[in-house]
């Protein structure tokens, strides 16, 4: 098994910018109805899981989508692969509107957009051999590669670092990391143009995570497949993605190239998110200390999200305007090209420590007060 492959990290996106827009989402929306009421049950509200987001994934690019639970990132992935029916907005694939395409219209596209799931245990049919699992998509789509399907499956197993001899084994004979490789092989079977990977490594142990991240990176670079990489782990997303979008409560609040998002963020939520990541610092002098921001409470319910800017209820900069006006996702002063932020009162583009920590959590504020003076 080729477990020990070490790959260089991907190059920064070339000066010419990424390829053609492959997948474009415009105002993409998904509301799940909430039933209730008396005496007749009816729809009493909506979970606004995804509420009008714009995204563009270019061909061959790796695009990261980060956010905390309930922000709608997984729903977005499922909308784009059309596992869910959008409530509103548009999805264009190679310029073709597939928002509401039916089975027939989707057939050619289904093979070009593939998905990798989080849980390598439940996303593989335990009663099928690995060979059957990986050749399944080819069978369904009636694809007969030169040399036969079995030969192709063995090739795929080799690409993902599994032994081709394991063709006839069952999923339970593999470890978690190996199962995720099987999932990758299945996604590759149809030579997709876009892979939507929903938390592909978060169920794996640290040492195994790196193996799968490297594999995905190899696949992305060598086969030129575009990735929509959905994860909550900011460091993994940074490592994998050329461009990154940050979601909060169903909205994209900031999007830009990796460097802008991670070192020059403007949205207060992006600042809070980055500052919350616990980090191993290897030396004392390196780049000074990071800012410390501690939000209060949890993310509000997506059933009845705050008006205006959805982050305002937890934001230290919120003013009246934030409650009344939804901030548009635009390029604000000082941002690089393609770095868009949805905020009325953006932060300084740095993650360095500021004079005073931002501590909104009441318990922390109370406990830390005596130490401060």
């Amino acid at each position: 098994m080729k477990e020990d492959l070490v790959l260089p990290a991907p190059r920064e996106s070339a000066a010419g910018g990424p390829g053609e827009p492959l997948l474009v989402a415009e105002g993409l929306t998904k509301h799940f109805p909430v039933k209730g009421g008396f005496p007749i049950r009816r729809t009493v509200g909506h979970v606004q899981a995804v509420d009008g987001i714009d995204l563009t994934v270019h061909s061959g690019e790796s695009f990261g989508l980060v956010g905390e639970s309930g922000c709608g990132k997984s729903t977005t992935g499922r909308l784009i692969t059309r596992l869910l029916e959008p409530t509103g907005g548009k999805i264009l694939y190679k310029g073709q509107d597939i928002t509401h395409a039916k089975r027939k219209g989707l057939a050619p596209i289904r093979s070009e957009i593939q998905m990798i799931f989080q849980d390598p245990y439940s996303s593989l049919n335990p009663r099928q051999t690995v060979g059957k699992i990986i050749s399944g998509p080819m069978e369904i789509n009636g694809i007969d590669p030169a040399g036969g399907r079995e030969k192709r499956v063995r090739e795929l197993l080799e690409i993902v670092g599994l032994n081709p001899e394991h063709y006839n084994r069952f999923p339970h004979e593999f470890s978690g990391g190996q199962r995720q490789r099987i999932g990758v092989a299945r996604a590759l079977a149809l030579e997709p143009k876009l892979i939507v990977a929903d938390e592909p490594v978060s169920a794996l142990d640290v040492s195994i995570q790196a193996q799968v991240v490297n594999l995905l990176q190899k696949v992305q670079k060598e086969l030129g497949i575009a990735f929509l990489f959905i994860a909550h782990d900011l460091a993994v997303v940074r490592h994998f993605s050329q461009r990154v979008a940050v979601m909060y409560l169903g909205k994209v609040i900031e999007v830009g190239d990796r460097d802008s998002i991670y070192t020059r963020p403007r949205h207060p939520y992006t600042h809070a998110l980055l500052s919350a990541v616990p980090e191993v610092t290897l030396t004392d002098e390196e780049g000074g200390t990071r800012e410390r921001i501690r939000l209060a409470g949890d993310v509000p319910s997506p059933i009845n999200p705050p008006s205006g800017c959805r982050f305002r209820t937890r934001c230290w900069k919120a003013q009246d305007k934030c409650a009344s006006e939804v901030p548009p996702l635009v390029r604000i002063d000082g941002n690089r090209d393609g770095h868009l932020t949805a905020c009325h009162f953006p932060e300084e583009p740095t993650i360095e420590a500021r004079g005073q920590d931002v501590v909104l959590d009441p318990a922390l504020a109370a406990l830390e007060k005596p130490d401060k003076d």
Binding site: L7, P278, V280
Partner: protein, 353 residues
């Protein structure tokens, strides 16, 4: 962010051994497939007022160890050898009654998933008040008031009202705060936190970690913090013990273990973990292979099948001879101290960026 140092008002350790001393602990489970050696020859100490971080992947034995300290393992299928001494008292041979007096009172525990770790059938307030009543003999009303006070302390807004809610009416972060309130209600001397933030979102995790640190300043408890996340451990721990396949492979202060690690497994963990400031031109270098089965662990050094440095050790010692871990700053590896130092500086450190 400052790491915690011992607070001034905590009394000095009682004697040469730690406040909690685990000596040569072995835990074996009988299963249908054979005997699982979940923990094998583990020794460590925890001092009052300090935080020991235990880091390891799934199956490393880190959680089992801590269930054993409290005697919460399944007595029918588990065999335990060694010693666990807490404040002068041997726990492995202690009676169930004696353990009940300690649990929740002098040693408390916080679990990973606060949704399943709290009973769905009773109010949050009742679940917090329960151990307080049991251990202090307080009246129902006093215990309830104490529960409300603790909820306020851990930052639950409107605690008098929220105490009457059931756990499912709390959000994830709130539930973990309630768990902390429940653990600290009797002002324990030792707090065992088993992956307490793994199920939480990153911004909530940051709140909870800081809360634990701040509360430790106030309560002066010793903490054993179990996690798989090196970033979290760097944030909370004074000392670190790295576990692999049922035994400790490296120990030392947080600075020592994370900035000058000496064991190939620790190097592997650091190399395979992306960081926010890691150099993007350097690739992640995963540890090859997978963790071993504890039904039939490898001979010699348990890490040898995945170790890329064994050829630098003479002969095949790694396969035949089990390296031992010393008491203080040490690592269980046959490489010489000089080799460990130079390999880290010359080969590992540059990759980390």
């Amino acid at each position: 962010m400052t790491t915690l140092t011992k607070t001034e008002d905590t009394p000095p350790p009682t004697g040469p051994e730690g406040f909690l001393s685990v000596r040569d602990l072995s835990v074996r489970f009988a299963t249908e497939d054979g005997v699982v050696k979940a923990v094998d020859g583990l020794s460590f100490d925890v001092e009052r007022g300090r935080t020991l971080g235990i880091v390891g992947e799934s199956g490393s034995g880190k959680s089992v160890t801590n269930l054993t300290i409290l005697g919460l393992h399944n007595p029918h299928s588990t065999t335990i050898d060694g010693e666990i001494v807490f404040d002068g008292k041997e726990l492995i041979t202690a009676t169930e009654r004696e353990l009940e007096q300690l649990r929740g009172n002098r040693i408390a525990m916080i679990f990973q998933d606060p949704l399943t770790a709290m009973s769905p059938y009773y109010t949050v307030g009742r679940q917090i008040a329960e151990p307080f009543r049991k251990h202090t003999g307080a009246s129902k009303q006093e215990a309830w008031n104490r529960a409300v006070e603790m909820l306020g302390k851990v930052g639950i807004p409107n605690p008098a009202q929220r105490a009457k809610d059931y756990p499912h009416q709390f959000s994830g972060g709130m539930r973990q705060r309630a768990m902390i309130a429940m653990a600290l209600v009797c002002d324990p001397d030792l707090l065992i936190a088993d992956e307490p933030t793994t199920a939480l979102d990153v911004t909530v995790q940051a709140q909870i970690l800081d809360l634990l640190k701040d509360l430790q300043q106030e309560f002066g408890s010793a903490i054993v913090f179990i996690t798989h996340d090196l970033g979290v451990i760097a944030d909370v721990a004074d000392d670190i013990m790295v576990m692999y396949a049922g035994s400790a492979v490296e120990r030392g202060s947080t600075d020592q273990v994370l900035r000058a690690p000496r064991h190939p497994y620790t190097w592997g963990l650091l190399n395979s973990m992306p960081r926010l400031d890691s150099d993007l031109s350097a690739a992640l270098a995963p540890i090859p292979g997978t963790p071993p089965s504890l039904l039939n662990p490898p001979s010699g050094c348990r890490f040898h099948p995945r170790c890329t440095f064994q050829d630098r050790v003479g002969g095949n010692r790694c396969v035949t001879e089990r390296p031992l871990l010393g008491a203080d700053r040490s690592s269980a590896c046959h490489l010489t101290t000089e080799q460990k130092r130079s390999i880290f500086i010359e080969e590992i450190r540059p990759r980390l960026g």
